[in-house]
């Protein structure tokens, strides 16, 4: 397995991507220099780490690993209603990431930097004796006072979600061999969603001034709605039948209805979960239609604490898993 050295890797692979942004200084300096966000906008910063074998499968295609590392960070900008500007990437590489692996990783990174209009500003490249670990820090911008925080939800607000939920969780089951679907296309669609979430960043921006609170569904609907409720000091009720499902998830549920627990509690969807007063229903739908993203009203906030998911008959569901979290 031929391996470039640290400096060769930066100059051969990363520097060409960074040349698009003059502030990256060709990755030859200690740091990048950026003009402040335009028109006095606030800066939004976040960071997410993906560890091989934990956040992605060791045999996942390298280009998908790079794209997922970028997209989970873009998702944080979407959740804040921020427009992403640029990223820093730290790559801690093991012996398994040879030149061919890194070539594909960089091609995937290149693709998605362009797709989301994000600049590669810098980072670090180090060796590790453990699994490959990629950390992305992302910078975005939002006008003062317009960011979407978790704490803004109020009793009476409706609870909304974008896209469809459960695809990534069931896709991971397909990849792990725990779920077999008769239709290859459905299985492929689920896998693809696990590998490549598509955070609705334009929706986040469109929801400025419309949504009262937002976050991205990374730990699972129930857990993330719980985070929103805790931050906002409210309780939430969700109707399971209103949770938007893809055709592929529908196929899986028809085969095994018990998978609904995975749909409601599985992570990695990276859709937007947000709240808005009921009198903004039209504004929510208009914002979503304007950026071509599907949204569904799945429940509401009320005084209290905790998240209740109700079945079609109104009975609260008992969910075995409250959401994904790290086991050390």
């Amino acid at each position: 397995m031929p391996r470039r050295g640290e400096f060769e890797l930066i100059s051969a692979l990363y520097a060409p991507l960074a040349r698009r942004h003059p502030g990256a200084l060709g990755l030859t300096d200690d740091a990048a220099v950026l003009a402040p966000p335009p028109e006095g906008q606030n800066l939004v910063v976040s960071m997410d780490t993906l560890v091989s074998g934990v956040h992605f499968r060791t045999d996942d295609a390298p280009d998908r690993v790079a794209r997922k590392a970028l997209r989970v960070n873009v998702s944080d900008m979407a959740a804040m209603g921020a427009a992403p500007l640029g990223v820093l990437l730290s790559s801690a590489l093991s012996a398994a990431e040879d030149d061919a692996w890194m070539d594909q990783f960089t091609a995937g990174l290149d693709h998605d930097l362009t797709r989301y209009g994000v600049a590669l500003l810098g980072g670090d490249t180090v060796a590790t004796l453990g699994p490959a670990t990629f950390t992305v820090a992302i910078l975005g911008a939002v006008p003062p006072g317009q960011h979407l925080a978790r704490a803004g939800g109020r009793a009476g607000d409706a609870v909304w979600v974008s896209g469809t939920l459960g695809d990534a969780a069931l896709g991971l089951r397909v990849l792990d061999g725990a779920l077999t679907l008769p239709e290859p296309a459905a299985a492929a669609a689920l896998r693809e969603r696990y590998w490549l979430p598509d955070p609705p960043v334009a929706l986040g921006v469109a929801l400025r001034g419309v949504a009262t609170a937002a976050l991205d569904v990374s730990d699972g609907l129930v857990a993330d709605l719980g985070h929103l409720c805790t931050a906002s000091g409210v309780a939430a009720e969700v109707e399971a039948a209103r949770v938007p499902l893809s055709d592929a998830v529908g196929t899986a549920l028809a085969q095994d209805p018990a998978l609904m627990t995975s749909v409601l509690t599985g992570g990695d969807d990276y859709q937007l979960l947000f709240t808005a007063p009921p009198d903004r229903d039209d504004a929510v739908r208009a914002a979503a239609a304007g950026v071509g993203v599907a949204v569904a009203r799945i429940g509401g906030l009320r005084p209290g604490a905790g998240v209740t998911v109700r079945a079609a008959d109104g009975a609260p569901l008992t969910l075995a898993e409250a959401g994904w979290r790290h086991r050390w």
Copy 2:
């Protein structure tokens, strides 16, 4: 070994530190929101990763690990002439980092966030099956056009360095048992410099408009001066006898003069290496005196390429190691 969960770790340890900066949103959100740097200043961003067993010793004290993770990033700001504003911290933790370890880690982080006036803005906390890996992204500010880049050196410029060099490289040898000194105080001083570099961030700011190029000595004097020369398109000559040495390094060299190679090529010093035209000698000295940092003029730039280190008799030294880089 009791272990807090991911969310407990964030709420118990990191959130109290982040409360000092309102933009961190108590670490309960997907991202931090910051006002732009004051008075139209540019933003400077950088990122550095420390892997246990690679960038720090597995048995290093946890508080020192946290402080080093912060300080190597502060050093990047110093090298750019930027004032550090805040950091994001990603902690990928193995089973070895139990509650007691993390308590000490957080205490060290707390100490140095205060020391350098840096805010904890957010980050990520994940589990890894490999060695603990800490990635810090740092944000700083510098007035437009005043950042110190590597590419600004010109033939005729003098080459300067702050503080003393070689302490960290010899400190690592002491820790590894490869170097034994008769004086315990000298050995302790060297170890301390390996564990806790002290980047001269105030000097970086003071050198705005004075230095033509700068970087921090992380890979070693010869390698880092080589980076500056490559970026600036010049060659450099350094007089070994002018390289500033601490008393402890002097003691070690008296015992074994061959250690001078480690002084010249060893990494982890995190002092500033910078250039300035000779007619700014007084300005350099005044800037350094103003912030109480020692500086030494160790050589100069000339047309050409590469770095030459000359012995007292003018003969070029042959150095076995050109500088630290990762072996995969």
